[in-house]
């Protein structure tokens, strides 16, 4: 606890829920995490993240540009650690946030998540738990606010910087070691007897758009609602 009673719970919270930072939620220091607005140890935070990822509907990883391109030393290893994480979450999907530009007339929610319309990807894929990693903090923050406003998705952030008050569980200064620590925590929960919700669905699930691409078919974006 950080002396503040405001709790950052999954939504939908309504049209414009306040920014958690304006309700007294403060960012954690290195070695700590934030769970629903309260300061926790890193280990406790990782256990909460692991449990939510294994038990909620349609777990999805949203990798951002900071891990999608090997733009500086260490990023390729971090990207590899994200794939290792994905392989430990049965039934997980990976939908990238490759950039932040508005996509018109409408995004393809099976291809990307976009900070202008993040709700569309959450709603379309019925995602109830997600991990953001490698998204620049400003765009992660506005995306998290909109997801909390309009969806029931449990948001997890593995932040390369100071973390995010508006996600339900956030770990700051997360490099490949922290990602691998989450992977190991997931393995530990399984060893302790937690049966994943999608235990019978091995590996990473592809969306229809991703499936089409993987089969070499000509991909067409999802039809635009008129």
């Amino acid at each position: 606890m950080n002396g503040n009673e405001y709790r950052v719970k999954p939504g939908p919270e309504g049209l414009l829920p306040p920014a958690a930072a304006c309700c007294g939620v403060v960012l954690s220091e290195k070695g700590q995490g934030l769970v629903e607005g309260a300061l926790k140890s890193e280990n406790d935070t990782l256990r909460v993240m692991a449990r939510e990822l294994l038990t909620r509907q349609n777990p999805t990883i949203f990798p951002g540009p900071l891990v999608l391109w090997a733009w500086r030393e260490g990023v390729a290893d971090k990207a590899a650690s994200v794939l290792e994480l994905a392989h430990e979450i049965p039934g997980v999907r990976i939908i990238p946030m490759p950039d932040y530009r508005p996509i018109y007339p409408k995004i393809d929610p099976e291809a990307v998540i976009n900070p202008c319309h993040p709700n569309l990807t959450i709603w379309h894929n019925k995602i109830e738990v997600c991990v953001f990693i490698g998204v620049h903090c400003h765009f992660a923050n506005i995306t998290l606010k909109m997801i909390r406003a309009g969806t029931n998705c449990y948001t997890i952030t593995l932040c390369h910087e100071a973390g995010h008050e508006d996600s339900m569980a956030s770990l700051p200064f997360a490099d490949a070691n922290q990602v691998r620590a989450l992977t190991e925590t997931i393995r530990q929960l399984k060893r302790e007897g937690l049966r994943p919700r999608y235990a019978d669905t091995p590996g990473i699930l592809l969306t229809a758009a991703q499936e089409a691409l993987s089969q070499g078919l000509v991909w067409q974006p999802a039809p635009v609602a008129q």
């Binding site: 920014a19 999608l68 903090c137 765009f139």
Partner: protein, 384 residues
């Protein structure tokens, strides 16, 4: 030749608090330029018109000496403030300065900086807003800055101008902040007058801006994550796009909240409290603090106990600190150098429901008038 290449990089903490300091008797403009000398600035951009002050001209000299890497003179304030937007987006450390009418001319651009998450330092030497034409001090322009989204520090004297300017760069570039920091002082009283200023060695400088560890990508066509331009959202789509704009604005306010920790760390708290047990309090910022200190001394000679709260940071505003400091107050006055009384308004809004003190609607001077200590004393003890 002494220049930025030969300076040694130290942490902001070392430069601000640990490095030995020596005293110099200098003007506020000189104090600001001495801060910039130690700030590892890449580019200064200005429309260096008098009577803003000689600050940007002195910073031009720093460019000639090799302490800053580039210097650009814009065609007017709109040009200067737009150019610094571009400079900040490319990831370099940058600063500019203005005042009064010039600031008002560029206000639309100033108000766009926070939304674009642009780290930079903006020095303000307050002066009258026209008309009628005047070049005298008056800090009315800070009223407009209060809702601009910029972090806004208000220095009391030449020493504050030096320290807050250096601190401004460190605060502005923190990832969870990533906002412009405006450092204001009252023109002429501070910019043109000399005072003793303690400064660390000019052989030291801040670390360079770490532009790859900020809240938004900067424009760098050589690095793939940044080839993605940071287009602002255009509200031509549907409901969600409007919601994105709303969330974007919320995020600026959230960043202000996150900045509290760093503002407090780098300028030693958002407020300074003198005589906290007093029931009669002065709340002031800027040069009004100096006049209030003297009024407080004169009140003590008269055997009266008066407290003083110096508000150092206007944005973020020291809400919790002010409420705590005014807990036992029975009477509060708010001396200001402007006609509408923007600090008075802030104090009333902050203390509403949190203090039983009677808050006087003044004293205020404006249009270039100085603040006599007799006026403060008269307002302090009016009710008696």
């Amino acid at each position: 030749m002494a220049n930025t290449v030969n300076q040694r990089v130290v942490t902001p903490e070392h430069l601000l608090f640990e490095a030995p300091r020596t005293k110099a008797f200098i003007t506020g403009s000189e104090a600001a330029s001495e801060a910039v000398r130690r700030a590892n600035v890449d580019i200064a951009i200005a429309y260096p018109i008098t009577p803003q002050s000689e600050t940007m001209e002195r910073i031009g000299n720093l460019f000639a000496e090799g302490y800053i890497r580039d210097y650009y003179r814009a065609e007017d304030e709109v040009g200067a403030f737009s150019a610094i937007s571009g400079a900040s987006r490319t990831g370099v450390r940058c600063m500019t300065a203005s005042s009064g009418p010039g600031l008002m001319r560029g206000l639309e651009t100033i108000a766009s900086w926070p939304g674009h998450r642009l780290p930079l330092v903006f020095l303000i030497m307050c002066r009258v807003i026209n008309a009628p034409l005047s070049i005298q001090p008056d800090n009315l322009e800070l009223d407009y800055m209060l809702t601009s989204g910029n972090i806004l520090l208000h220095g009391e004297n030449q020493q504050d101008f030096f320290d807050y300017t250096l601190a401004g760069f460190a605060i502005s570039e923190k990832c969870e902040v990533t906002l412009p920091v405006a450092v204001a002082v009252d023109g002429f009283f501070v910019t043109h007058a000399r005072a003793w200023v303690e400064m660390p060695s000019a052989e030291l400088k801040l670390p360079p801006r770490d532009c790859y560890s900020e809240a938004v990508p900067m424009i760098d066509n050589e690095n793939p994550p940044v080839r993605i331009a940071r287009d602002a959202p255009i509200q031509k789509s549907n409901f969600i796009s409007y919601q994105m704009h709303a969330a974007w604005q919320q995020e600026i306010h959230a960043a202000h909240e996150r900045s509290r920790k760093w503002v407090s760390r780098y300028i030693n708290g958002l407020v300074e409290v003198v005589n906290p047990e007093a029931e009669t309090l002065i709340v002031a910022s800027g040069s009004a603090v100096s006049q209030s200190r003297e009024a407080l001394r004169q009140a003590e000679e008269m055997g009266k106990k008066v407290g003083l709260i110096k508000v150092k940071s206007l944005r973020p505003f020291p809400t919790a600190e002010l409420r705590a400091a005014c807990r036992h107050a029975k009477r509060i006055i708010v001396p200001e150098f402007n006609c509408p009384g923007w600090l008075n308004r802030e104090v009333r809004a902050t203390l509403y429901g949190h203090s039983e003190a009677k808050i006087a609607d003044g004293p205020r001077v404006y249009g270039g008038i100085t603040m006599p200590t007799e006026l403060i004393l008269e307002w302090l003890f009016k009710s008696e």
